[in-house]
């Protein structure tokens, strides 16, 4: 499995389209960066051929007619990616009626989170000097192993007037063409049957530039594209089988697993040590799972076949580092030594919208370990630092998983947890002292929220933990002064993280003598989360949220409540905001419950969402008014 390679592919696509303006205005250009040039016509032609060794290869020829829309000088750059299974050939550009070969700069691609991969960047550029200038750009990419064929998208970083994809399928090739997101964008499709080829032509017009907006879902989720799966081809009378279904896909994965060469003898002592005082099986499983999380650092190597083949358990153990495959394999071997039924498991994280009905490497980008205990499956992702058992990371929840099963495999969906499983809940009790709010607070983190907090703590020096906690809890607001009663700790991930503190808030009361205006809100979650009018792509949250807070205010002696803000209760299947302030026995009680139930806000949701946020904002600003009795 090529860890994150598919995610990386999306990054690649971003970079393919990335152009950097030559001048210092880059941050503040009025003619927006993506509008500085447009692609009048884009054509991608995919053809197939047999190489000298009669192996199936494919050639993708991309031509783009690009026109400058700015009067200013503009550097248009293009980065095309390739790896051990592909190469870039013949880059040309035609400008001023001259066709010239372009000499690209080739370099290794470096990505955060991946230590080393075989991915390389082929970089070239064209400097547009005036408005209306045209250039015709052309390059060819050869795929030498068709398991790694790129998906074909119609869109680009820049706006495209007319985008065409042509696939020439020779009669000797059995090709599975999958049309994805064609219901969201609607490309036209026509087929011409020739004597030796079937030519499929897809076209889509007036396509906006991709990657425009913050929080934009990946292209695979919102843009029309094609995934091509060569099933088999003929060489003369010989039929060469490739990947036709998930069984073939698993077969290839399994062939790599067979080559791992695990030698788990050296792990025995450790497994005994970890499990010796435990009688409960779950405790034993936990001790192994947590040990791998804590002691094996995630360092990803995506070099050639090692992008798919797990590193042997003894190597990961000795190195104390590994990628998801290596960590999953080590976990599996340790659990087997402890006497459990543990299996390698392939899956695509929530970044990938496909399931195993598409038998392609594009479906997977992650590996975990599954333990089958008492007929039930427990999914262990040791890359998820500080996750407790059953607390599945949001990114794997609900995803289809391909699990080893003897000589075969099984497909199972990882359970989705309720939103309330990942909760941040707070309780604050205030009283008024000299125009300041004073009191105590308690915040509890559960589920993924807890994992997230523990992970954050682990990434900063221990000396800074208290400062971090204070800054997190006060939302970086200088008006909110805290004094922690307990220090955060990484010691036990099986219990919720709780932080309690003394709290003082300044500038939350306006004293008009006979009236006090009081505001108990200091987090203001989602206050600035309106979707801009011009936004034309959905918004994807980083996960599901559940935030709950109750704050109380003791009404001071001699004062009475004159006004309380009107409650809000907006609930639908994607989100819920419930905010209310009530008076109960000389105490004002402010309850807040915010729930993000679905990760994606679609364009059709924006209008209601913005109205909700506007109301939330008004509520946050509104005041409790106390009058002297």
């Amino acid at each position: 499995m090529k860890l994150l390679k598919n995610i990386l592919f999306t990054v690649i696509i971003i970079l393919i389209g990335t152009s950097i303006p030559i001048e210092v205005f880059s941050k503040n250009e009025s003619v927006k960066d993506d509008e500085k040039v447009i692609i009048e016509k884009q054509k991608k032609v995919l053809t197939f051929f047999l190489n000298k060794r009669k192996e199936l290869n494919a050639k993708l020829t991309v031509t783009q007619k690009i026109i400058s829309k700015t009067t200013l000088q503009y550097k248009f750059t293009r980065s095309v990616f390739f790896d051990d299974n592909s190469k870039i050939e013949t880059i040309t550009k035609n400008a001023n009626r001259r066709t010239r070969k372009v000499i690209p700069i080739i370099s290794d691609y470096e990505s955060n989170g991946i230590f080393h991969s075989d991915l390389k960047v082929c970089y070239f550029e064209h400097i547009f000097k005036k408005k209306g200038e045209e250039v015709m750009l052309k390059y060819e990419k050869i795929f030498t192993d068709l398991k790694f064929l790129d998906p074909l998208y119609f869109n680009d970083y820049y706006q495209i007037d007319d985008s065409e994809i042509v696939i020439e399928i020779p009669e000797w090739l059995k090709l599975d063409v999958r049309e994805l997101n064609f219901e969201l964008e609607t490309p036209e499709h026509s087929t011409i049957e020739e004597e030796k080829n079937n030519i499929h032509t897809y076209s889509l017009k007036n396509i906006r530039g991709a990657f425009r907006n913050k929080g934009e879902p990946r292209r695979s989720k919102i843009n029309a594209h094609l995934i091509l799966i060569p099933n088999a081809y003929k060489v003369g009378e010989r039929n060469v089988k490739l990947i036709e279904d998930v069984e073939d896909l698993y077969g290839w994965y399994a062939s790599l697993v067979d080559q791992i060469g695990n030698k788990n003898d050296g792990l025995k002592e450790l497994v005994v040590e970890l499990t010796k005082d435990k009688t409960d099986d779950m405790d034993k499983i936990k001790s192994i799972f947590y040990w791998v999380q804590d002691n094996i650092r995630y360092i990803a190597f995506e070099n050639g076949i090692m992008g798919f083949k797990p590193e042997a358990c003894q190597k990961v153990y000795n190195n104390k580092y590994g990628d998801c495959k290596g960590m999953a394999n080590l976990t599996k071997e340790m659990l087997i030594l402890a006497g459990y039924d543990a299996r390698l498991t392939w899956l695509g994280t929530s970044d990938i919208p496909y399931d195993y009905t598409i038998p392609s490497l594009l479906v997977d980008n992650h590996m975990i370990c599954t333990v089958i205990y008492d007929g039930k499956k427990i999914f262990l992702d040791p890359t998820e630092k500080y996750a407790d058992l059953y607390n599945y990371a949001f990114r794997i929840q609900g995803q289809e998983a391909l699990i080893e099963d003897g000589d075969g495999y099984m497909i199972e969906r990882i359970p989705s947890l309720e939103t309330s499983h990942n909760k941040e809940s707070g309780q604050h009790n205030f009283s008024i002292n000299e125009s300041k709010l004073e009191g105590s607070g308690l915040v509890k983190f559960t589920g993924n929220r807890k994992t997230y907090i523990l992970y954050l703590l682990s990434t900063i020096p221990k000396n800074d933990w208290e400062d971090f906690a204070l800054s997190y809890l006060s939302n970086g607001d200088k008006n909110v002064q805290l004094n922690l009663f307990n220090q955060p700790t990484l010691k036990n991930r099986d219990v919720d993280v709780e932080l309690s503190y003394e709290i003082k808030m300044e500038n939350h009361i306006i004293d008009l003598g006979e009236e006090l205006y009081v505001n108990l809100e200091f987090d203001k979650q989602f206050e600035n989360f309106e979707m801009p009018e011009e936004r034309n792509t959905p918004y994807e949250f980083s996960g599901k949220y559940f935030i709950e807070n109750t704050s109380t205010l003791k009404v001071p002696e001699g004062w009475k409540v004159n006004y309380l803000p009107t409650a809000i209760d907006e609930q639908n299947e994607k989100y819920g905001f419930s905010l209310s302030i009530k008076e109960e026995n000389d105490t004002v009680v402010y309850s807040k419950k915010i729930e993000i139930k679905a990760p994606i806000l679609d364009l059709k949701d924006f209008s209601d969402w913005n109205k909700t946020i506007e109301r939330v904002k008004e509520f946050y600003a509104d005041q409790i008014i106390l009058n002297k009795k």
Partner: protein, 745 residues
């Protein structure tokens, strides 16, 4: 037949193949030998036998630090290669770092190192087990490298390696040997304190015969001590003829970062300048000069002389311009001097643009007379600044040609220290003093007005010498201190006239005015080259030249270019608008910028204020509060410094504000009909001490609310014991920024 062909082919290529193999083999053998030589060099200096690196534990007081540098040694040799008759610099650095924290462990699991002549990492476990890290799986790095791995001594590409089996409590002991070929001289100002504590460190410089070496330490750093036993020559032999200087330092605490800090004045630092034999320095070819100070006066004449050479082309152009403008005949000295400055500025920008275009491969100026006749890129302002010695040489020459006496000043900017602290040439700046006007002039950039002060020089010390005496030897240098800047020299003023609309959003008319440092930092946001240069040409061209330009303007080719430039100007103007909109968003709850206009650019002496008017709409200041409105009025003065509790309690270093300054705000707010503001008394604040002030006044006249605030940093530098006075002002300003009032019907 086919087999024969293959055989023939193999036969033909075999000798080539063999030869290539031999070549590769020789290269590998040579590389291996070189590596071993360098490894021996390392071992001779502080390799395995160096007992200082036996340390395995951190002092108890640093047990909670993420890492502790147990020992580090830096050895730099300035060498002569007698065989090649050349000079080179060779360095050895060894560090031994103890990892004490999980976060640090994750950082060090991916270890970075530079391409070096020899390099090695040893991983040491708490039980003393040692393992050399195999580097064969290292990968080249082109992206950002964590700052821990960079140093001031070595500039090479980086690699990274994953360290196996690394755990908290482990030690990484690593070294590198490297050579650097410096084109000229080595000028180094480096702290000996870091973001981590150091148990012991040595910094060693070996200086070969004939090399020149200037060195010293400052701010509590231990002194360099000369080792009588000498140092190591290019062949690794210990020789007394090689001068060795050692700085030994123990128990160096981690640097504590504080805002407003001139690190060269507060952290222990070393300053070193090494010049190869026969370098032209201080007016002569120097050999074998080793000193712990330099006499900056000796650098005066060479700097000005090289400035004269470098500026010769522009000088000729400006001289011609000044003659055509009849500057020599001007009666008023001040006008004359200012015209010379602005004319030199124009020709400098023009020349720089031509140069920039030349290196970009696109000819920029088709007609040198007119700036608007461009055919290449004028997308945006590129900031040009003239080297100060070139400016001083040219400006003083032009003044002399126009009968104005001047003196050249040689100054050490305050952030480097004082005259006696100078060790390197980069610590010195030059300017011009005109005694008859009692005024200093500082080097040019695109925007600098001759009447502007240079805040970097304000309060700095140095020397001045009369221009007429430059060529004579034995000049007298007068000591000089440049007047410190006053709070009134650097003003940022914001005037807002606000109309509250029915939907509680704002229509805002704003005027921003900047002088001094504030002007410098806002120039490039508001101004752009084409109109600036058009105005410069208009102001600084003779009638005859203007007529010439007008004739050129009638040419068809010119008109085409002009047309294109007009379109560019429109787009640039739109760009500016967006840039200004983004800038306004930083300070206000801006909804939309309607328009903006530069009222004055402050580049000519008659008006040194950069002034901009902008009309915009804003929202979110007024919100419903029960039946009334709550006005987030404090936000109008924009974000204020938020000191945290630790910062308030403790200040360890002198507060270097850079320049004294004043920030004024004036708001006139017309409230919706029938509304009255309540709670405005809380907006009246008055904190005023010797060092800083925050004064605010709020009044209500009918339905108009008038608020004025002034925040003043009265000094450019404040002693740490006066910190509380500055805190008092900063806290007041912050408190104001948090104030809200109620608007009641």
């Amino acid at each position: 037949m086919k087999a024969y062909n293959i055989f023939l082919f193999l036969f033909l290529i075999f000798p080539l193949f063999l030869s290539a193999q031999r070549g590769e083999g020789r290269k590998r053998a040579k590389d291996k030998k070189a590596y071993e030589t360098n490894l021996k060099y390392y071992n001779d200096i502080f390799g395995a036998k160096d007992a200082d690196f036996n340390i395995t534990e951190s002092p108890a007081e640093w047990n909670t630090e993420p890492i502790v540098m147990l020992c580090q040694k830096i050895h730099i040799s300035f060498l002569r290669d007698s065989e090649k008759n050349g000079s080179k610099t060779k360095g050895v650095i060894r560090k031994r770092v103890l990892i004490q924290d999980k976060a640090a462990l994750d950082d060090f699991s991916e270890f970075y190192y530079q391409n070096s002549s020899a390099f090695g990492i040893q991983h040491i476990k708490p039980d003393g087990t040692k393992k050399d890290i195999d580097l064969k799986n290292a990968v080249k790095v082109e992206s950002d490298v964590p700052s821990f791995y960079s140093d001031d001594y070595h500039s090479e590409d980086y690699n990274k390696i994953a360290i196996p089996d690394l755990e908290v409590g482990d030690i990484l002991d690593y070294f590198k040997v490297f050579t650097e070929k410096y084109s000229g001289n080595v000028e180094l100002i480096a702290p000996i304190s870091y973001s981590y504590p150091v148990v012991s460190q040595d910094i060693i410089f070996d200086v070969d015969k004939l090399w020149n070496f200037y060195y010293n330490t400052f701010n509590g750093a231990p002194e360099f001590v000369q080792d009588k036993e000498g140092g190591i020559d290019i062949k690794g032999r210990k020789r007394k003829i090689i001068k060795r200087f050692i700085l030994k330092n123990t128990n160096q605490k981690a640097q504590k970062e504080e805002r407003w800090d001139f690190i060269n004045l507060t952290e222990p630092i070393i300053k070193v300048m090494a010049l190869p034999p026969n370098s032209n320095f201080a007016g002569g070819r120097k050999r074998d000069e080793v000193k712990n100070s330099i006499e900056i006066r000796d650098l005066f004449r060479p700097a000005i002389s090289s400035g004269e050479t470098a500026g010769a082309t522009i000088l000729g152009t400006t001289n011609k311009r000044l003659r055509s403008l009849g500057v020599k005949q001007m009666r008023k000295k001040e006008k004359k001097v200012n015209t010379i400055y602005t004319a030199l500025r124009l020709d400098f920008i023009n020349q720089s643009l031509i140069y920039r275009a030349a290196i970009a491969g696109t000819p920029l100026m088709t007609n040198k007379i007119s700036t608007t006749s461009t055919s290449g890129s004028m997308n945006a302002d590129t900031y040009f600044s003239m080297k100060s010695n070139v400016f001083a040489a040219m400006f003083s020459t032009l003044l002399k040609k126009n009968d104005i006496e001047s003196e050249i000043v040689q100054i050490v900017p305050r952030y480097f220290g004082e005259v006696q602290d100078v060790i390197t040439r980069k610590e010195i700046e030059y300017g011009v003093y005109v005694p008859s006007l009692d005024k200093y002039f500082w080097t040019l950039n695109n925007y600098r007005n001759p009447v502007d002060i240079n805040y970097d020089m304000a309060g700095a010390t140095g020397y001045k010498i009369a221009k007429k005496n430059l060529k004579r030897r034995g000049n007298t240098f007068d000591e000089v201190t440049i007047p410190a800047s006053e709070a009134s020299d650097n003003i940022s003023s914001t005037k807002l006239n606000i109309q509250v609309k029915e939907d509680n959003s704002f229509d805002v008319n704003s005027v921003f005015e900047y002088t001094g440092r504030y002007k410098e930092s806002h120039n490039s946001l508001f101004l752009f080259q084409i109109p600036i240069l058009e105005e410069d040409y208009d102001k600084l061209s003779s009638e005859k030249d203007k007529a010439k330009m007008n004739r050129a303007k009638n040419r068809k080719s010119y008109r085409r270019i002009k047309e294109r430039n007009e379109t560019k100007k429109e787009e640039l103007s739109e760009n500016k608008k967006e840039a200004i909109e983004n800038w306004l968003k930083g300070d206000f709850e801006l909804d939309k910028l309607e328009n903006f206009e530069v009222l004055s650019h402050g580049r000519f002496p008659n008006n040194n204020i950069l002034s901009i008017e902008a009309n915009f709409t804003a929202k979110s200041y007024l919100q419903k509060a029960g039946p009334n409105l709550i006005f987030d009025i404090g936000k109008l003065i924009s974000g204020q410094i938020e000191l945290d509790n630790d910062e308030i309690k403790e200040r360890n270093k002198t507060i270097e504000l850079g320049y004294a300054r004043t920030i004024k705000n004036s708001f006139k707010i017309t409230l919706p009909e029938g509304y009255k503001a309540q709670g405005i008394d809380a907006l009246n604040m008055n904190v005023d001490n010797l060092y800083a002030a925050f004064v605010s006044e709020a009044n209500q006249e009918g339905n108009t609310l008038i608020i004025n605030t002034t925040k003043t940093y009265k000094k450019q530098s404040i002693s740490k014991k006066e910190w509380s006075h500055l805190v008092e002002m900063l806290e007041a300003a912050y408190t104001f920024s948090q104030k809200k009032i109620i608007l009641k019907k």
